[in-house]
Subunit: 366 residues, 4 copies
């Protein structure tokens, strides 16, 4: 009820502040018998890790995950899996001067007004550092999906717009995504974005981004009507990521501009006794339940609030102050949102797959 | 876990199919001592009710709500409040010819593939009829908010775009909203939208819409980090409404196109020991917690999928069929989404207010 | 969170006061495709119904259950099943004189002090009338168990002690249970209990009872370590029944008096590749997980608090008063607890069976 | 849903196996501003710790708790509090010979049949070692209770029966409880229990015990009708402790042997505008809600299943084997259940206090 858990049958409960001793989570509901090691988490954690290019914060964290429970001889046992990530590069002094000031765009003010006390070191609980835990849980969720489905399921994300510069969809190439520091699926956009971000950093400013998540191989039938719809849970999962201000599924806001006959995806026999759709405006979800098509979601990430340009604010005494955020920050937090968004989609799908199996048995075709 | 409940401390659990005997809900967590009668629900139910203008479905439902429990001598007792709405205008025969066909854009196929069985009458559980229950729960949530806060809190919504035609924000007038059949805050947009919808209906087509919800008077501090953020729960609440494909908070997707210094809302002393913001790109939420500013959310509603224009589909035997949806339908379901969106925001706020009070005591300033 | 729901994957949410318009529940998580009609609920409801012998309250309720949703053409659809039972024999005047008095042993005082308001008619929400809803939910749970297991599972209960007079276990005969008004498994105990209750009624007094529930055919593996253990959930389910003051599993309190070598049930190969136990002190649960043995639970029911013998109490003004409960009451509420206890065990088992299937797939051997 | 969490508003989620790297928990819902250090947990942890007398297992664990989050400058921040306890004395070899055998009375067989895999080292997840986590969570719950109530609340427990030898209630002295190795409130029972346990250990056997928990100062109004009753949640909390087979509240099973006029606790004006009860058969709970009287609960703990006397069992291949549990074990696990039972009662009360505050505001008189 305090909001630190996500999911129901597959659920993780997280803890930790940016500059406390550690962050981590407890993952419940993992089926037994799935091979799992800390190395399985590390790949995704490394993709999210700061300090990998000059376009992300230079804060260095090893983000080395330790599995404390729920695995025996390399295999899950069905009991809760605790993941611990020690905080190693804390440098509290970088932040000490703003402990009494509310940074605009940050959660400083809201935590203070809610709780009357806050951990100001590096943003405390509201720091994007928390998203490392999501990535760890997401890596376990991927394992669960593969194991229960008995086949691979692909969840990938990419940055499709940064600082107002959008990719060309015709250029989309998944191989490109991990080959540039922006997770861009359009190789032609790498140079413009480099130029953009170099300028932004020079200005001490920041820019926003739009991230798209694509999940292929999702079986039909996932999602619980009428409130825990798959798209509703995806919206919550993605909106809960730091700095996200919008979420859309399939055609999203553009669907509101289509006519009914253009928007509704037509169906044809697929020749195998099933169905194929002639388009995917629905983004793979109808009535809150997956259709078997590719799931498509997009999220809008606001520009990093930590900037070098002075902004007006107040302090805890209610006095006016200017705030300049020194220290190491991402010029575009949207970049590092990519593996986090993938992870949250994996968690939602794993949860709904287990819920489907609980109520109805396994999905059709498995 | 089956998805029929929404909320935690303030929670409603709903039931009912479009053409079954009744729909309704059980509302839990309502504080005791709040005056409540069925008439309190009826005002909002009537705003959602179909058949009120030529621009909504001509299906006629009295939508008369009966309170079965939890109220004694006109006052809530703290026990669950059951609300029952009998279905009176069912006309099953209107739908019988499409019982075996999957209507494109509808949940027919997904319910069938998920459950292996479905109630085809009027869309069954996936019908927009279910949203009457949300409105009833929302009316109770408003009562809870007013009672706990000890002062009014205003939650209103309006259609800000229909069929691609957007209102002029400079014309915004809340008095206009209930004075036209479109919930338009811009009186100048009524005529163009009338023309649009008359044409759409003539074509047997439909259009989408964008709805904006505005909540004023929300105290700071509502929202539970880090997964049950206020904005994450709003996103889930709004995305769970039938036909919604996108949700944004404050500047939303536009925030992704702003620079950090433009996006981050600056703060100044308000002269009363508190804070005032110089802008509201955040839409009243920072770090998942309300700031005390006005909450602003927008939702994209796809065009009604029930149209007279034939669409290709398959039947339950996997054979190709053409589907034409006869009967009575809304040319733009986005219109009737207005009171539903308000209701869901009320439910989220009431839930988070009680959760705040549970963990931390009452919000500051109350 | 307000306590009106029971279960997780299989869950029911109840509502209703003793003398309000109706009581009922919404049952979520029922797998689709299970034949179900109102008649299926009526058999169990009739066993709980008052007024069937001179040994239960003469209040007459038809307890006719109406299914409002979730069933189409006689088969469950996977959507929530609402059950409505109208209150028909309310006679509010019987209770009006004690509206301002706190009846000793009843929940009058605690509801009043908790909520500051209460519905005094017939005990309101705290009336045993609420247990009819449990029985309805339990009847659905039995259907779920049979359907998912693909074979019958037997859940039965009996009164094993009343007013301090215990049955002879050697006489146990399940056929006897429904053949006498006490649900006694020992036919020889019927006459003594008749004499006991006739005397108790003459005195305007009441007696307590011990009920035993026995569930045969439960597969091994049900129960979630370490807090949602099967025995822990059974304890909660049974202790939540009105007037229950104690719960034990298997040898129960007697286990505390055994030595380790006598208590631990030994295992032998069963000749079929499985295991058989040589005793069942565990009552079918080890480490919170079912063993595959018969589940055995007992519950202690206190004597009815509504008696004709004057008792001292206070009124809502804090003044001393004498309370005499006139009207129609059970001399031993433990009798009617029998079908209620069965129902709650069925609900717990159904919930854990679906949870097992969700996390691990179907239990071994199914 | 996987059973690793307890509570709702105040909730802890635990993890860890007996011989894995660590055990621990995440505690959510703790109000902000409460002074808390690891030392606050240590007092209760030390009372539970093994190896403190010759009457408990000689396994030595420092049980040193580390707080990883949710506390800043010695004060809770409202964010989740993670507690980590490293396992230091693991000696896996003591257990290796029984990895393939199902120890009678233990959870070996049920974990294996449920999950198809298990961590056999020291009982894995089913070990009583997990109860250290409960004690840590309980220590935090006590802090929450004191802070929210603004006054002390006393939760204590004692062993009232061991191996069939019961204390004399007239001798009850709370000062005695922590002054002997058995948590006996009756100093005169220390010598007989010493003799009993010395004999039991010599025989390689074990005995059971009955523990009584007493909570004084609980405000009236805690408990959520009708399923999350205070007594129902206490029953679940206590039955979920390892080796517990029975729970009773107040007069418990004896209540089933009383007449109505003897059982129902009479009320009198207390001279201060409130109520006092002339007896406490209810154990402080009526209708599932606390009365303001002392809460009394008892739990039956079965004898330790690990004994030196050979018992018949089977191995994972289904072959008959004899099992003798060597190693270090408690001759009576009921002793160390005392601080665990206190902790679980504290957790239940803290949760219900926050739930009360959430729905209704603070309890009357606070």
């Amino acid at each position: 009820m305090a909001g630190d858990s996500f999911g129901t049958l597959f659920r993780f409960t997280s803890f930790g502040e940016s500059h406390g001793p550690a962050i981590g989570c407890v993952v419940e509901g993992v089926p037994p018998g799935i091979p799992l090691t800390a190395a399985d988490l590390q790949h995704d954690l490394d993709r999210r890790k700061p300090g990998q290019s000059r376009f992300t914060t230079q804060r260095r964290e090893d983000d080395a995950a330790e599995i404390l429970s729920g695995v025996y001889e390399g295999v899950t046992t069905g009991t809760p899996i605790a993941v611990l990530i020690r905080n190693t590069d804390q440098r509290s002094k970088d932040y000490s001067d703003i402990a009494q000031r509310f940074r605009p765009g940050h959660a400083d003010y809201t935590y203070w007004v809610k709780y009357g006390v806050r951990d100001p070191r590096g943003g405390g609980r509201s720091s994007a550092r928390e998203t490392a835990v999501r990535v760890a849980a997401g890596a376990i969720a991927r394992k669960v999906l593969t194991s229960v489905l008995g086949r691979p399921l692909t969840i990938r994300a990419a940055v499709v717009e940064m600082g107002g510069l959008a990719i060309e969809r015709a250029n989309w190439d998944w191989l490109s995504v991990d080959a540039n520091p922006f997770f861009s699926p359009d190789a032609a956009m790498v140079a413009p974005w480099e130029a953009l971000l170099d300028g932004v950093r020079r200005d001490g400013s920041s820019v926003g981004a739009v991230v798209e998540v694509v999940a292929e191989g999702v079986p039909p039938g996932l999602g619980e009507p009428v409130y825990d719809r798959l798209d509703a849970d995806l919206a919550k999962a993605l909106m809960s990521i730091n700095a996200v201000k919008g979420v859309e599924i399939g055609a999203g806001f553009e669907a509101a501009r289509l006519r009914g006959e253009s928007n509704a995806d037509e169906m044809l026999p697929n020749g195998l006794g099933g169905v194929r759709f002639t388009s995917n405006n629905a983004g793979g979800v109808l009535g809150g339940i997956s259709t078997g098509q590719t799931i498509i979601a997009r999220l809008a990430v606001k520009p990093t609030s930590s900037i070098m340009i002075p902004r007006q604010s107040v302090d805890t005494q209610g006095r006016p102050v200017d705030v300049v955020t020194k220290g190491r920050h991402d010029p575009c937090v949207g970049i590092r949102a990519v593996p986090v968004a993938e992870a949250m989609v994996a968690v939602v799908l794993a949860d709904h797959l287990l819920r489907f199996r609980g109520q109805c048995g396994l999905p059709v075709g498995l």
